[in-house]
């Protein structure tokens, strides 16, 4: 992975961008969500607490009123007397009183008056006054022993039909001697609870009322479905956490003072799975967007950075190939621009240095030749060769005469001081050379020269054709009987073309490749080519030079291009 990234500048940039873009995004995203969640939960909790207070107030209000009414009933002699009354008129009077006292509360509870033995005597419930509560047991027993207060208990089944009955309250009626005359009993059914709570809480929430042992007294539908009471009691008994992470519902517990009851409110959690997954989804989309942005930015940025470097690399390769004319000429003003300018300056400098070196070398050569000329008088050599010629003629050895006159001509031209000679001179030099070679190789090849008259006076560097012809004879026609060399010179668009054709074995492809690359080191044995090429380029510039190729019908063709310069 690391290796793959390190290989490309683009990938490195991309990785950097991802880190820079994604890390802050994820951190801020998480932070935002957590802050939001905390804030929401707090608001939510406050709201729930308000709701619980409202429910609690309503219920304690009802309980307080109940206690008041119970006290009024206890102190009403008509009712108390009515407990043991069998006379229907007096009983009726007691009933009237009971209904009068309880008229405000009959919507939310049934009131009964029991006698001391636990038999129901008067009742506001729609059913006939009947039923019994054991006086030695349960709520009546507690009410008897705690006569100063209203006792509230979860209703259970003993003694009566329990349909929908949730909560029971009882208070003992005592006379002056603390003798029990009976009990005021208040029954609250599910319907009563619904009436009390209606509008006090949000219908989506579940409300449960638990007794002091956390047994279910009353549960709304939602609380029943969620089994709030049972779950909480089981957890409390087992000593587990009351709120657990796996809960589908969050709940709030509040004890209701004095009554011994507990109020539970169950709520769907504010941060449901939906909300959480949506938040994560949004974050993912943002992450993907910034990822795409990173890819685009990395591409653009790396191109912007690597393009000048690549340009520089290409220019460098050309310089390595010997082309010192290269100039980058970047229009940029930044560090890359400066680098390009320095590069351009550097190649210019190198070229100048090279030219200087060349000039010095040439001067040195000139002085060498001058020294040689000084040491050995050329005229002595010419005269000697001339003498050889005449002696050969006198003795009828024409080959020797040709050899001596040819050699003399070559010698004269090559050691003459002039750098440039006319094309006709150059061609006659080449002819002399070929005549000598013909004798050397026993007349195994022939040659033709095509030189238009108007080009005879063109000036060319001396000895530029001879190396090419030498190559054609020595390499091209090596294995060949009756080879032919054709020297064709013509002009086209102000350029002088000198072409050397041979019908030999052609040139090796690798040599041709090396010639194209102008690789001096590898061109051993063909160094003449390289020298000719270099001389022309140095004199006339890189648009001129030497080009070699093989002909389709066999043999090689070497073409020299030069500007036309006339004296």
């Amino acid at each position: 992975m690391k290796a793959v990234i390190r290989k490309s500048f683009k990938r490195e940039l991309f990785l950097c961008f991802i880190v820079v873009a994604l890390v802050p995004l994820v951190i801020t995203g998480c932070f935002l969500v957590s802050v939001l969640k905390a804030r929401l939960s707090r608001d939510y909790e406050e709201k729930t607490q308000e709701q619980m207070v409202s429910v609690e107030n309503r219920m304690t209000g009802v309980f307080d009123e109940m206690e008041q009414v119970a006290e009024e009933i206890m102190s009403d002699t008509v009712i108390v007397d009515g407990i043991t009354q069998t006379d229907s008129w007096l009983k009726n009077k007691a009933y009237n009183k009971l209904y009068e006292k309880t008229q405000d509360l009959r919507e939310v509870a049934w009131f009964h008056v029991y006698d001391a033995q636990g038999r129901c005597s008067l009742s506001t419930s729609p059913q006939a006054a009947a039923g019994e509560l054991p006086a030695y047991w349960g709520i009546l027993k507690v009410a008897r022993t705690h006569s100063q207060e209203m006792i509230l208990r979860r209703a259970s089944w003993e003694g009566q039909t329990t349909d929908g009955l949730c909560l029971q309250g009882a208070r003992a009626i005592l006379d002056e001697d603390e003798e029990c005359l009976g009990f005021v009993v208040v029954d609250m059914t599910e319907t009563h609870f619904e009436t009390i709570l209606s509008g006090a809480y949000d219908e989506q929430n579940g409300i449960a009322v638990l007794d002091s042992f956390w047994e279910d007294v009353y549960s709304t539908k939602m609380a029943k479905e969620a089994a709030l009471a049972q779950t909480l009691r089981t957890r409390r008994m087992a000593g587990e956490d009351l709120r657990q992470v796996t809960d589908g519902i969050t709940f709030f517990i509040a004890p209701m003072e004095q009554t011994g009851l507990y109020l539970i409110l169950g709520k769907e959690p504010v941060f449901t799975q939906d909300v959480t997954s949506m938040t994560i989804g949004v974050m993912m989309i943002m992450a993907v967007c910034s990822l795409l942005l990173c890819i685009v930015a990395a591409g653009v940025m790396s191109n912007y950075l690597t393009a000048p470097v690549k340009k520089l690399l290409r220019a460098m390769a050309r310089v390595e190939g010997g082309d010192l004319e290269v100039q980058i000429e970047s229009g940029r003003k930044d560090e890359f621009g400066q680098l390009s300018t320095s590069f351009d300056g550097m190649t210019r400098q190198i070229k100048e240095n090279l030219d200087l070196q060349m000039r010095q070398q040439k001067e040195l050569n000139d002085s060498n030749i001058a020294m040689m000329q000084a040491q050995l008088n050329p005229h002595f050599l010419y005269n000697t060769l001339d003498t050889i010629k005449w002696v050969a003629k006198a003795h009828h050895v024409p080959e020797l005469a040709t050899l001596a006159s040819g050699l003399a001509r070559i010698l004269r031209t090559s050691i003459s001081e002039a750098q440039f000679i006319s094309l006709s001179e150059e061609v006659s030099l080449v002819c002399a050379y070929m005549d000598i070679q013909k004798i050397r190789f026993d007349g195994n090849f022939s040659y033709d020269v095509e030189l238009p008259l108007e080009l005879e006076e063109c000036m060319v560097p001396k000895m530029i054709i001879q190396p090419i012809v030498e190559n054609a004879i020595i390499h091209g026609l090596k294995e060949r009987e009756n080879g032919h060399i054709f020297l064709n010179i013509y002009e086209e668009e102000e350029t002088l073309f000198i072409e050397v054709y041979d019908d030999g074995c052609g040139m090796d492809e690798t040599i041709l490749g090396l010639l194209k690359k102008r690789n001096r080191e590898e061109l051993k044995g063909h160094i003449g080519f390289y020298n000719v090429d270099t001389i022309i380029r140095l004199h006339y510039g890189t648009q001129y030079g030497l080009y070699a190729e093989n002909q389709e019908q066999g043999g090689a063709r070497v073409r020299i291009t030069l500007p036309i310069i006339r004296e």
Binding site: V26, S41, G138, W157, F213, E215, L242, V245, I253
Partner: protein, 334 residues
Amino acid sequence: MKKRMLRAAACLLSPLLILGGCTDGQAQEEYRLEENNKLVIYTSHKEEVYGPIVKEFEERTGIWVEVVTGGTNDLLERIEEEDGKGSGDVMFGGGVDSLNAYRDCFDPYISSQGEQLNDAYASADGVYTVFSKLPIVIVYNKKLVISAGTPRSWRDLINSHWKGNIAFADPDRSGSSYTALLAMIQILSEDMSKEEVMDAFVANLDGDLLSGSGEVLQEVTAGKKLIGITLEETVLKEIDQNADIGMIYPREGTASVPDGTALIKNAPHRENAELFIEFTVSEDVQRLLEDQLYRRSVRKGAEDAEFKEVHYDLDYSEQYREEILAEWRALTKQ
């Protein structure tokens, strides 16, 4: 490198952790229950029996009770499996013979109210404390049998007059049926051997056996059978629901199936368990049994005038159980 990556991951994840748990330890602390304020009861009683008793116990003592319900045998097997390492404190319910059979699972406890209790079924070494008595009675359909013609005694049940008309559960499956069969053998043992009694009775049943004691009343109220043999408790309850049936205590007397309460070995809340056992035999609870739960008190002074109580020989019952049931199976297969 790895460490650095881990650290980076931790930095990234830390906000997520904040998102997680918000627990309020305060509420947790406020509502923590002390261990000595708890009691775990295993019971095979129906909710109508244990419900009011457990509620009253909680309210009087302030102890929180967890109730685990199940069949008698299931619970006893569970207690045996737990072998003193379970959470249960008290086994509430189950015939005393069953409790006696699992005596190794219980710690002996002798009630401080032993003096006031009827000692007929008391456990000598305190394996269990008797809770209630359930006498066996004959039930009949009032519409189909005139009261003058009802069977009056155990001997009447082998009278061919009732042949094919008796609803009786298989003693192999129903504990109360087995007790009834044994009571019959015991009562008729003066002039009949147990084989003769069984032979005659099986012949009178005419091959009809019910699979559970609950079905006896169904058969009688539906008029499929004229009379039946079952527990007083169930008959009284049915009569209270206005069923048109009558109940007869056999003239020779009848046996009661007593059930009891036992203290489980190594009970985690032993003190509370003892309190509960005392509570079950207290005057109030025993009174409630008779008043509301159609059961017979085990306290002295609550002796029953309506019927003669025949002592049910627990040792005999245990000793001959397999033999009698094998005989019964052989007879009913024919």
